[in-house]
């Protein structure tokens, strides 16, 4: 069961907000706005640089939490919350990691459902938090049985 992972966190991983990745990501969410991809517009914006869309941290790596393995299939993404101190700037480096916030189970109409809450953090080189992301993933009984966890 996942209860024993509550409070566990991953090692920090350095990520760069890469220009090409931001362009491709903004195109993939059908939002190729100049504030994300046009260098001149970025330079002249209040941020002095292009910024990344709010759901961009999806592309970052957050390190591994020791021994934690979530099922590869059959997970249901329940909720997603981002918090920002400021937008992410193209070219900047962020140190990212994740932490298990909670795990609990509830009886639902499809059997016992596991709720897994993961929080991810992105910090600048001085250790200031720039963004956090909280994700709730639902693990259904069928999947848990298949994994025998």
């Amino acid at each position: 069961m996942y209860k024993r992972f509550i409070g566990k966190q991953s090692n920090k991983v350095k990520n760069t907000v890469e220009r090409g990745m931001v362009k491709r990501f903004s195109e993939a969410i059908c939002d190729p706005h100049p504030i994300f991809i046009d260098e001149e517009i970025g330079k002249n914006s209040k941020y002095g640089q292009n910024i990344a869309p709010p759901t961009f941290p999806r592309v970052f790596e957050y390190g591994e939490i020791e021994d934690l393995e979530l099922p590869q299939k059959g997970l249901i993404h329940g909720e997603e919350t981002y918090h920002y101190e400021r937008p992410l700037l193209v070219g900047e480096e962020l140190y990212c990691y994740s932490k298990v916030k909670n795990y609990f189970e509830k009886q639902g109409k499809n059997g016992l459902m596991g709720f897994f809450l993961l929080k991810r953090y992105g910090k600048d080189s001085e250790g200031n938090i720039i963004f956090t992301e909280e994700q709730t993933v639902i693990i259904t009984e069928a999947v848990r049985k298949a994994m025998s966890v």
Binding site: M21, R24, F25, E27, A28, I29, C30, D31, H33, I35, F36, S45, K46, Y47, I51, P53, P54, T55, R58, V59, Q72, K73, G74, I76, H77, G78, E79, E80, T81, Y82, H83, Y84, R86, P87
Partner: protein
């Protein structure tokens, strides 16, 4: 387009209706995001998972919804973006993005946001707190 500074509670941002959801878009999102869960791109895998067909990544829909706010980054930025995934999005679904200002105090604008499909069913919903700075 109005500035956000002028918007009042109860007013909507201009809504956007997307092109029908296509496989190539979801393949692009898989590549750009690194989420290669095959239920989003390969029919057989979706069927094996008990789905009638491939479904969009929830994060693709959430990413799309964010674009209602993109024109306003010179005024401020999204401080909080909270979403609950309420329903599945299938190929050829036609999605509409909506945001209504719920409340504002000083520099904080709290919007109720959602994406509805062609049947008016909510597929994701939540809140955006946009900060004027």
């Amino acid at each position: 387009m109005k500035n956000l500074v002028e918007i009042k509670p109860g007013e909507y941002l201009e809504e956007i209706t997307l092109n029908p959801v296509s496989r190539i878009e979801l393949i692009k999102y898989a590549g750009a995001s690194g989420d290669f869960n095959p239920i989003h791109t390969i029919d057989e895998e979706a069927e094996k998972a008990g789905l009638p067909g491939i479904i969009a990544h929830g994060m693709w829909t959430m990413g799309n919804l964010g674009k209602l706010f993109t024109p306003y980054y010179e005024e401020g930025f999204i401080r909080d973006y909270q979403i609950r995934f309420a329903g599945m999005v299938f190929l050829n679904d036609v999605l509409t993005l909506k945001a209504i200002l719920e409340e504002r105090n000083d520099e904080n604008l709290v919007f109720d946001v959602k994406v509805v499909n062609q049947d008016g069913k909510e597929v994701i919903k939540g809140k955006v707190r946009f900060v004027i700075d």
